[in-house]
Every structure is written in C-alpha cells, then in structure tokens.
C-alpha cells in the first residue's frame, strides 16, 4: 500500500509517525485535486452547464460511496460535508442543545478538546465526565450511574470512538444500547477510528470525522446525522441550503445539504470517490496491517500509560521533556507528536508535568519504521540524560 503514497517516494529519509494528527495523502487524491483545479473547477448545485453537472455528479457519487463504505442507507440525507470534525462536532452540539435549557452532557473522559469546548460554551454546569478505566476505555457503568442520577429533560452522550491519547477502542455497541435505554442523544467523535477498525456507526445521532486523517484532503470533514435531525433548522443558514426564499420566509432542502450552506470544499470532495474505492477495496488489509503494527508498538513501548488497541501509542518520557525529545528525533527525520495532544485534562492526569510522546501510524507505515523510532527514542533519552 505504501507505493500509493507519493510522499514516501519524494521523501525517502523521513519516518512519518504522526498519522493520528494527519495522514499522508493517497495518490488519487493528489491527482484528482489537480485535475479539478486544472480542468473541472465549477460550482455544485447551482450551475446548469456541463462543468457544473460534472461536479454535481462527483459530489453525489462521494456521498453514495461513503454510504457504501460505512454500510448506511440514504447517504444524501445523512452525510453532511463540512470543514472537518471540529466543525462537525460544533454543529452537532448546537443542534442538540439549541433551544434547550434543561440538558446534561456526558462527555467521555478521553475527549479531544474539539468535543468538549463547544459544551463548555453552553455552560460548565451541564457537563459530566465519564471516567476512564485503568485499561484506558470509558467506564460505561459510570456512564449508566451518571445517567440514572440525572433528572435533566435532555441527555446527551458525547464520546470518542477511539481515544487520541489512549489508542483504545470504546464499546460503541454498549454505548448505543445505553443511549436507547436512557433516550439520550449520541455524538460520536470518530476521527481516530474511521478507516482503522470496523464499527457500526448506524443509529447514532451524530458521527463526525475528518478526511485528512483517512488519507484524504485537509479542510474536509463529514458529519453523519440521523435523518430525524433534518427537521431542525440549519446551524448556519445560507446559499445551497434552501429550495426557495421570499422576503418573508424560506424553504430548506430536505436532505443533508441543509447543513452545508455556502460553496462546499469541492476540490476536496471530488477526490472522495476514488479514495473511497481504494478504502473499500483495501479496508481489510488496512485493518490487518494496523493490528500488526499495534502489536509491535505495544511490545517495544515502555512507560506507556495504556496498551494500544489501534493506530497510536503514547508514552511518558523517561527523561527530559517531550518538546526536547520530539525536536531531537526530528533531527533524525523522525516525525512524531509530543505535548498535550489536544486532550490536556487527560494528559495532565497521566503525565502531570511532562506531557506525552505519541507515535501513530497508517496504512503506509512499516514495522521497520516503528522499530527505528523506538531505538532512536532510547538513544535520545541517553543523550538528554547527560545534560539533565
């Protein structure tokens, strides 16, 4: 699969281990972006000419293939294109909490900032945090206890499918069952799970992810919605979301475009059909490769607060700071992430003053790269320890 990612041919000396932040890009995505800008740039849903029709076709094909990939029906009614998961989660939270005074939110303790910050803006008193077990997954008995003891009219469960610090997989089946039991709205941050593991994302109210973490373009995300939310007004009304407008009123479209006002990121959207073809064909291979690398990383890693289940592993630095270690590894052309990982409360809990180092991989990562990275991390510890 690696030969489908031109980055590695162009930069053979770089070991890229920051795929949880953003993945490298599939060759068809680069080709289709160029092709759109050079030959097809036109707007969707508006222009009657053949170029506009071509863009419309790609747009609808992208949604249909997302539906095929995820195994969901009515993709046109369920898939909202947006700028990325941050916008998707924000919109979901707006839709869920708008016009509500009496609501409570149950946020997974392994949250990415993007999942919690919009709730903070609705008032901290609404937020309850679900504990994490020692193995790094959400403690769902704690969630049930919180829900049982809460008398709010509206209950919202907001969780990550896979933690971007823990690399562990939360039990979505159980969360779906709990949400039905308590009639709770569900918001799923699927950024670290999409394309890496099999999940049934059907039957949740909102599922958000970004395409740049799934070998696609930056600046494009999806929010998958339950069709019942089509009755809600758009978070941002505007062009593309309506069928007619008068001086007094407007009629909105009855599909997911209702939540896509303005010109969407078409140069990114047109890359999705061929990206999805590749993902659908290679999904099993990608998952199997991820599991092999996960096993290897767990065997090599020391000082990791959690045993990884997919995609990434974090570790507390044995010496020095994550910033120094990441910088010195960069000198060796090894790109990894160090710091609070956009999950400051959790990282502070497990590594109070040091932050965490994170190695994350993708379909293109080799076992040898993981082995080299851990070897170099060990050497970097030794180097820094001479000066501490």
């Amino acid at each position: 699969m690696r030969n489908r990612f031109p980055f590695f041919e162009l930069n053979p000396d770089i070991i890229y281990l920051d795929s949880a932040a953003t993945s490298q890009t599939l060759d068809t995505v680069i080709q289709d972006t160029n092709d759109f800008l050079l030959n097809h740039k036109a707007n969707a849903h508006r222009s009657g000419h053949s170029m506009g029709a071509w863009v419309d076709e790609q747009y609808h094909s992208a949604k249909a293939k997302i539906g095929e990939w995820l195994g969901i029906n009515d993709a046109d009614k369920r898939i909202v294109f947006n700028s990325g998961a941050t916008q998707g989660l924000y919109d979901a939270i707006q839709l869920a909490t708008r016009d509500q005074d009496d609501f409570s939110v149950f946020v997974g303790g392994d949250f990415h900032h993007s999942l919690a910050l919009p709730f903070h803006s609705t008032g901290y008193n609404h937020c309850h945090y679900i504990k994490i077990t020692d193995s790094g997954v959400l403690d769902l008995s704690h969630l049930e206890e919180l829900l049982r003891n809460d008398a709010s009219k509206v209950k919202i469960i907001a969780i990550t499918a896979v933690g971007n610090v823990t690399g562990t997989i939360n039990d979505l089946e159980k969360i779906r069952s709990i949400s039905k039991q308590f009639n709770a709205i569900t918001i799923i941050d699927a950024c670290q799970s999409m394309g890496k593991i099999h999940h049934n994302y059907d039957d949740f109210d909102f599922v958000a992810w970004s395409w740049h973490k799934v070998y696609g373009p930056q600046g494009l995300g999806c929010l998958m919605i339950d069709p019942r939310w089509l009755d809600s007004s758009p978070v941002r009304p505007g062009g593309g979301s309506i069928t007619s407008v008068s001086y007094e009123t407007q009629t909105y479209v009855d599909n997911a475009q209702k939540f896509e006002s303005g010109t969407p990121n078409l140069q990114a959207i047109v890359t999705l059909p061929r990206l999805l073809d590749w993902l659908i064909i290679h999904q099993e291979q990608i998952i199997s490769h991820d599991q092999e690398l996960t096993k290897l990383a767990n065997s090599l890693c020391k000082n990791n607060p959690y045993t990884s289940e997919t995609g990434l592993i974090t570790m507390i630095p044995e010496v020095g700071t994550v910033e120094d270690i990441a910088l010195l590894l960069d000198v060796n052309k090894i790109m990894l992430r160090g710091g609070n990982l956009c999950a400051e409360p959790l990282v502070r809990n497990v590594s109070a003053n040091s932050g965490l180092l994170r190695i994350s991989w993708g379909a293109y990562t080799t076992a040898e790269e993981i082995e080299i990275a851990f070897k170099k991390i060990g050497e970097t510890y030794e180097r820094i320890s001479r000066f501490i």
Partner: protein, 135 residues
C-alpha cells in the same frame, strides 16, 4: 564583554543539527546562572512551552528549566546578562534577539520562549521579584 549576538555565533557554525542542540544542552551544564535551588511556581516564565524558572537576586539572574535545551538557552542568556555592561543591558531588547535571525537554529516556539525570557529579565530587573505578576 562580548555582544549578545556573539553568544549564538557558534551555533551557526555547526553543520550537523544534533551538534547544535548538544552544544546548547551542554551550556545548561556549564552556565553559572543555572541553579539547583527550589524555585517557586510564581517564578515560572510565562508563555514558554517548557517550564523555565527565573529569579533576580543580588543583581544576578539565576534560572532552571525542565527541558535540557531551554536550560541551555536560559543559562547562556542569563550568564551573558549577568556580566553585561550597563549600556549593553540598556540596549538589550527583543529587537536584539530578532536581529540575530535565529530562525535556522530555533523553531518559532523556542524563539518566542527566548523572547519571553528577555521580557521577564527586563521586568524583574526593573520591578524585582516581589512585584511579579505571577505572584
């Protein structure tokens, strides 16, 4: 007393980036201003990614950091400032740092950290530790 910009001239000579960072980290071991005393939380230099503590005592600056690289940079700067002439101190501003052109050597984040250290040095020299805004 050599000029501030001369502090960094060795760094521009190294071809291997690892040598450059080893040199900086080594300065943290050699600098007289790097102290092992227990610093207080309010002595943290604000705006640094890594934790860097700074104290002004007996007209001298002492510092400590949890990062080997930041400790080296802090030690180099404090050592220079402690021995600088009055006119060198007066002429020393953020602009002095900007004029050196550290971009090839230090990331933007590290340069901001050094700039914050300089601001803090000037502040403490003028106001003293007691008026620290962190306290």
């Amino acid at each position: 007393m050599k000029e501030f910009q001369d502090l960094f001239e060795d760094l521009f000579v190294f071809e291997d980036p690892m040598d450059k960072y080893e040199f900086i980290m080594e300065q943290g071991s050699l600098a007289k201003s790097v102290s092992d005393i227990n610093f207080e939380e309010f002595e943290l230099v604000p705006g640094c990614t890594s934790r860097l503590w700074l104290r002004y005592t007996d007209k001298q600056f002492i510092c400590q950091a949890d990062s080997a690289i930041v400790k080296g940079l802090g030690g180099m700067i404090c050592d220079w400032y402690n021995q600088a002439t009055t006119s060198q101190r007066q002429e020393f501003t953020i602009e002095t740092l900007n004029n050196i052109g550290l971009a090839p050597i230090l990331s933007m984040g590290r340069q901001n950290g050094v700039a914050n250290l300089i601001k803090r040095i000037k502040y403490l020299e003028y106001w003293g530790n007691k008026n620290s805004p962190n306290k």
